[in-house]
Symmetry: C2
Subunit: 120 residues, 2 copies
């Protein structure tokens, strides 16, 4: 249980006790920020398509570009973001880079999102 810190409660416009309780239970700035950053990764149509495509099979960059009908550079930039978030990994084979998923938990979240939208 968190210790309550109510010293300043009197200054709020209304319902000081409720505000104090809620403040004590509020997620930290850092957690809120990191969680938002996490959802941001999933908050782009191109990245959603990349992740969904990779959920079935490993693909190289130019194949992903072909599948999504987009430029190689745009895909490469997005893959960089997905790599940074450790959602995809890749192996090099000569000049080609084969990408695949690297986080089953997040993929599961993505599928929940797709399902949710599908059922609207």
């Amino acid at each position: 249980m968190k210790k309550l810190d109510c010293d300043l409660c009197e200054q709020f416009c209304e319902h000081p006790q409720i505000v104090c309780l809620a403040k004590a239970e509020l997620v930290s700035d850092d957690m809120a920020y990191k969680t938002a950053e996490f959802f941001k990764i999933l908050a782009d149509p191109t990245r959603i398509k990349i992740l969904q495509t990779l959920s079935t099979r490993e693909l190289c960059v130019c194949d992903i570009a072909a599948v999504l009908d987009m430029g190689q550079s745009a895909i490469s930039h997005q893959l960089r973001i997905l790599r940074g978030a450790r959602l995809v990994k890749y192996r090099k084979e000569g000049k080609m880079a084969w990408y695949s998923l690297d986080d089953a938990h997040v993929t599961n979240l993505l599928m929940q999102g797709l399902n949710h939208v599908g059922h609207i």
Copy 2:
């Protein structure tokens, strides 16, 4: 099962069969867009805090502003977005508006995100 549409496969840089299969299974533009819009709602620290705070109790606008230590206008704008996405609902009581959660499924997703980040 989807019908494959492989007429244009030969034009791709590499691995036409794989690209064709992946294209056939690719989520639609519309679904990808809507899913991204959905995750965008959760991709902001302020909205995460609002939803997490409301997960415990109903609050009025000025209380939320006090809890998050932010301006009333900023909170009101964010609540509008959350209302538009049907993640929160409100009841009017005189001049006050009491907000609460309106989508347990999405709240569950939010909690999964918070947990995921917490376990990193």
